[in-house]
Amino acid sequence: MNGQQAAVEALRQIDPEVIAAYPITPTTGIPEEFSKLLEEGKVTGELINVESEHSALSACVGASAVGVRTATATASQGLAYMTEVIPIASGLRLPILMFVGNRALSAPINIHCDHSDSMSVRDQGWIQIYCERAQEVYDMSLIGLRIAEQVKLPVMICQDGFITTHTMEPVLTEEDDKVKKFLGKYKPKNTLLEFKRPKMIGNFTMPEDYMDIKVDQENAMRKASQLYDPTVSQYEKKFSKRYPSVSHYKTRYAEYIIVTMSSVSGMVKDAVDELREEGFKAGCLKIRLYRPFPFKEVEDALKNAKGVVVLDRSMSFGSKPPLYSDVKNCFIGSMQSYVFGLGGREISKQDIKDVFRKMEVRDYDHTVRFIK
């Protein structure tokens, strides 16, 4: 199956009461295939056909506030159009599950992969998980939802547009009963339709309340950090698949490490293997959990490195790219930022090996470099 089908298989097992989505490339297949499941009677929820992404996420917010599981899928301009509702979902503490097929933002219009879309909302209080393969999309959506519901925060499961959403590969799925048992029944504490405990959701707040609510959100993020390891351990015990917040690849005795996310990690690992054969001590650190950011884990992984390069697939115009800035907080040694793959620009294994070799000759500066 491809990355979208992996998402749909997870959705079939989760069987959310409400899905609202406005199909957009490269995640069109998610609402499309889900509607087929609905037609065949394989899921029981409701698919709300909406007129825009703004409405899609608004419908999810409404349904989630009522107290049911909800999900959506989007990408690029679709996510951009949702942006007004993004901080509302997290501010109202609604554990909505969103699949993102990472795609470049317009203009100029482009349908291919980069991370500009989800990176533009990285500070809006959503848990963000970036997946390398379709297998991870399936597993991380179950793990992500489990954490999201415990800390009452929405979660984005990001996969690379086309590179993961449209590539067929083997995916090992789990039995329905076991998945349902892992997720448990969703029982939110506060729901809108409790007539004996009437309440308002999303009220106007004055300065004496607003800031405390935001601090609560940050505390929820910290709780998500704490819950991540126990939740993945629980998942590993049940299903024998391991998903740490950061994945090490030969980093332990590495002198030079590349830090990156999502699908390109595979190619970096291949480059590491080839360099190791040449006697070059390379390593790769893949960030899986991006928000909340695993500072301690990254710091530990990098502490003995002579040099670190961060490969970003998006920009922060006028500043350093997002992943670089986060990793910079964890490492004080020599570091270099590279941006690659914008709008689907190809990157080769040779490009990655060149980047490693430049660290060896201490070729660092304070600029953002581009792999073009």
Binding site: I111, H166, T167, M168, E169, P170, M267, K349
Partner: protein, 157 residues
Amino acid sequence: MNMFNLIVKGLGGEGAKTAVEILAKAANKENKFFLAYPEFGPERSGTPINAYFKMDDKLIRDRSPIKIADYILILNKNLERIDSELKKGGTLIINSEIHKKYYYLNAKEISPIPNIAMLGALIRITKILKKESVESVLPEEFLKEFQEGYKMVKNGK
């Protein structure tokens, strides 16, 4: 085994994408690791596209397009400007009435859409997957095309 890598070249509508998806389903039957993906873009019927298929006994990590392939399957003979993409000593199968250098199959005789017949030729020549595995994932109405392609492929050399 070394990683098997294949480029399927065709015009939009000739079924290059479907061809690698069928190989993926058959590879899944044989519990192989694989990646199958086409090039995407502003694709239209009749414009050239590539589809890629990689298969191995271990996890395949590199998800980039194949630049130089061990195997190439050409669904349309007008796309025969590919020598640079074929590894030295690689295998090429072309949809053509006749060819002096490569394996060829006149798929036009079998079906107006060449992909399934050409898959038959590919499996016969390369034996990368069992014939039965591919047949088991094909819709019944396409079995005949596949089997005829399997039978009729010829060596041009």
